[in-house]
């Protein structure tokens, strides 16, 4: 019964003006936040690895719009956009990037390891593919508790070749766990293109041998993401088991900040930016519908700019963690 199908275009428009404007604002926030993170990295305020989400904004924002309270999200290390979409405070995300006490993990996690139990955001994981097993475990807990919640598990085209992904697919389908697997196929696993790494490049088909239905989705179109996400979530929530969404997307920046960018041409990147940009695309949709209220869009620009400036300032001025934090959160006290 495995259905692996390609959805060429979005279905009927279901989003209201208010919803589309919110998507625009949220995507803009992710874009500007990440641009600022890139700047702070260049200034030496952010250390280590830093993987930016620029270009992929429609996925986190579109998927977030169909989640219900209590659903869980888990992803790999390209996680900033997901956290902002999930409603985490940009200040604490940025301050975690700078390794400060005001960060969401009090500076002890960093870019790749952020969490928010409040937002249902379970990380932020640095080992490629590990979040797929963990997220499937979140779904196992949902089924165990019969709480009606769905786990949304994000991973990239690189992680799609990890063995534990398929171990998880097998158990999720075998036990009909409420999980939606969202493959953010941005075409490159670090510097290796999907054609050079994958014998089956259509990742939505990767569930076929586990009887998991899959769809290819235009991950640069927030409405398409939303509609496919709603369909997948309903399938999982109704007890039918897992569902795979392959989001075709693209990252504008390097894999991390230290990317030599030798594996693709500048022309290729520019072409995507010019023709498929998710924010420009949504702006065109709004204009076509006559919903692109110039004043409203300008107000978003100003609001987002202020939020990001405030977050950056907070991340710069928040103190480093107290040295006493070195030995906290290693163990929880056992109940007496």
């Amino acid at each position: 019964m495995a259905r692996a199908r390609k959805i060429a275009s979005p279905g009927p428009m279901t989003s209201s003006k208010g919803e589309l404007l919110k998507f625009y604002r949220d995507m803009l926030l992710v874009r500007r936040f990440e641009e600022r993170a890139g700047q702070l990295y260049g200034m030496g305020l952010i250390g280590g690895f830093c993987h930016l989400y620029i270009g992929q904004e429609a996925i986190a924002v579109g998927m977030q719009s169909i989640q219900l309270a209590g659903d869980q999200i888990i992803t790999g290390y390209r996680d900033h956009g997901h956290m902002l979409a999930a409603g985490m405070d940009p200040r604490e995300v940025m301050a975690e990037l700078t390794g400060r006490a005001g960060g969401s993990s009090r500076g002890k996690g960093g870019s790749m390891h952020m969490f928010s139990t409040e937002a249902g955001f379970f990380g932020g994981h640095g080992i490629v593919g590990a979040q797929v097993s963990l997220g499937t475990g979140l779904a196992l807990a949902n089924q165990y508790k019969a709480n009606g919640k769905v786990a949304f598990v994000y991973f990239g085209d690189g992680a799609a070749n990890q063995g534990q992904v398929y171990e998880s697919f097998n158990m999720a389908s075998l036990w009909k766990l409420p999980v939606v697997y969202v493959v953010e196929n941005n075409q490159y696993a670090m510097g290796t293109s999907i054609e050079r790494s994958s014998s089956e490049t259509h990742l939505y088909r990767r569930g076929v041998s586990f009887n998991i239905p899959g769809e290819e989705v235009d991950g640069m179109d927030v409405e398409a993401v939303r509609e496919a996400g709603a369909r997948a979530a309903a399938f999982a929530r109704d007890g039918n088991g897992p569902y795979i969404l392959e989001m075709k997307t693209y990252r504008y920046r390097g894999h991390s900040m230290s990317d030599p960018a030798k594996y693709r041409t500048k022309e290729e990147v520019d072409k995507v930016k010019k023709t498929r940009d998710p924010i420009d695309h949504l702006r065109e949709v709004l204009e076509t519908k006559g919903w692109a209220d110039e004043a409203a869009l300008k107000a978003f620009d100003a609001e987002v700019k202020a939020i990001v400036a405030d977050a950056a300032e907070f991340a710069r001025t928040s103190p480093e963690p107290d040295p006493a934090e070195l030995y906290t959160d290693v163990y929880l006290e056992a109940a007496p």
């Binding site: 969490f115 590990a130 963990l134 499937t136 979140l138």
Partner: protein, 468 residues
């Protein structure tokens, strides 16, 4: 000419079993492949097939006889060429799954039990007196129980207490556990809470950690810790580190458990002690009990612990009986060593199966007038170094015993701490007894040479006591 039919071994560690039933009578003619008898252990039942044609001449052990030693002559067949009837194997995953893996008695070593003498020593140790646990109330009644059943009871009690506790792993449910540790849990708790997984260690360890992050209390059973190397990333990177990386937000209260260390004649890939591997990692607790009481009490503590706990059992001890206190809710705190035998001349530290060897060594040494204090570490992380230091300050001499390799091992850590904190109390350089620095060999003689023994502990103690 008669063909001898011997009691077969069902598993690498089986010593004896019950001859449950004869399917033939004296005078019956059998041909190769005919089922002639059923034998049972506490882990499994198996049919014995004839491998030769002939007429049953004598049935030497009556049906229903318990405790029939492996290689005992149980029947004789008249006619055909001589050979022993191997039991019927089910062709299961690995020979190490004692419950299913049938092995004929080794023709190369007639009359020898199918395991090293060390195990016999440990088994005998189960009945020998040890120091009473000072925390037990006076008048506590003890029952005899195997380590296997103690572990089972611990899980059952905790599952009754908390609906969030569940067991997952390979063959834990319908098969009743590869080593029968989860026997009858499926019947009591159902398939929601006793979950058979595919053979997919990396995946189900990750699922377990994810479920723990969502607030459940999984017990993840590895059929052996050897297979958990497939899953070690999830144990360390996901379970041990996430509390810290999340600034205290995400917890993973989970127990990873299963048999650790060398079984018997199962070769290098199935015979490894992971004590020092996991004890190296902050964020994990690591427990390695010796007797049934600690197995029960520590497993209950591990399940209740809010942190990830690595629980290292020993296959060679599963079937050994010990005294277990009859106390409601018997919980042994994690992080406390136990002085198993008091002594004044030398301190021996050990954990898991090595405790039995250390106690036996102490008996041998006592006959020579050397009184050894034997410390059962019980928990490797956090290590109870206060108990070790106090003992060494008294005895001034130290020998560590472990089944793993010595390099970067548990003994290395203990000696480093003693040297750091009690250097002036030492009257001799401490010594380590451990596995030889090679993959564990298969050949019986080489395997015995490689593993720590009572004699090696005795010799090390003599050395640190400067007694030749």
């Amino acid at each position: 000419m008669s063909i001898d039919i011997l009691m077969p071994a069902l598993s690498p560690t089986m010593e004896e079993g019950t001859l449950a039933k004869w399917h033939v009578a004296v005078g019956d003619t059998v041909k190769a492949g005919d089922v002639i008898a059923e034998i049972e252990t506490d882990k499994a039942t198996m049919e014995v097939e004839a491998v030769d044609e002939g007429v049953i001449e004598a049935l030497l052990v009556p049906a229903g006889t318990e405790g029939v030693k492996v290689n005992t002559l149980i029947a004789q067949l008249a006619g055909g060429a001589s050979s022993n009837p191997p039991p019927k194997g089910e062709g299961d995953r690995e020979a190490v799954e004692g419950a299913s893996a049938a092995r004929p008695p080794s023709p190369a070593s007639p009359g020898l039990p199918p395991k090293g003498e060390d195990f016999t020593v440990v088994a005998a140790e189960g009945a020998s007196p040890v120091l009473a646990d000072p925390d037990l109330p006076e008048g506590t009644v003890f029952i005899k129980q195997t380590v296997r059943d103690a572990l089972r009871d611990a899980m059952a009690e905790e599952m009754r207490r908390d609906d969030g506790v569940f067991l997952m792993g390979e063959e834990v449910a319908q098969y009743q556990g590869a080593y029968k540790v989860s026997r009858e849990l499926l019947q009591e708790f159902g398939a929601r809470r006793v979950i058979d997984t595919p053979i997919t260690e990396h995946g189900f360890a990750g699922l377990g950690v994810g479920a723990a992050m969502a607030g459940l209390k999984p017990i993840v059973e590895f059929m052996t810790w050897n297979f958990a190397m497939q899953a070690i990333d999830q144990i360390i990177n996901s379970a041990a580190k996430t509390l810290y990386m999340s600034g205290g937000q995400i917890r993973a209260s989970i127990v990873f458990r299963g048999p650790n260390g060398a079984a018997s004649r199962v070769g290098a890939q199935h015979s490894q002690d992971y004590s020092s591997w996991y004890a190296h990692v902050p964020g994990l607790k690591v427990v390695a009990p010796y007797d049934a009481a600690d197995a029960k009490g520590l497993l209950k503590a591990a399940i209740r612990d809010p942190n990830p706990v690595v629980f290292l059992e020993h296959e060679m001890l599963y079937g050994t009986e010990f005294d277990v206190p009859q106390i409601d809710d018997f919980v042994v705190p994690i992080g406390k060593a136990k002085i198993r035998r008091a002594g004044t001349h030398v301190t021996i530290t050990a954990h898991s199966r090595m405790v039995g060897l250390a106690l036996k060594a102490a008996e041998v040494l006592a006959a020579d007038g050397i009184e050894a204090e034997v410390i059962d570490l019980r928990t490797l992380r956090p290590l109870d170094h206060a108990t070790i230091l106090a003992s060494v300050r008294k005895t001034n001499r130290l020998v560590t015993a472990e089944e793993g390799w010595g390099s970067m091992g548990v003994g290395a850590e203990i000696i480093a701490r003693v040297v750091e904190h009690a250097f002036d109390d030492l009257d001799a350089p401490p010594m380590r007894v451990c596995q030889e620095d090679v993959p564990l060999p298969y050949a019986a003689n080489l395997e015995a040479l490689s593993l720590p023994t009572v004699d090696k502990i005795v010799q090390a103690v003599r050395a640190v006591c400067y007694v030749s």
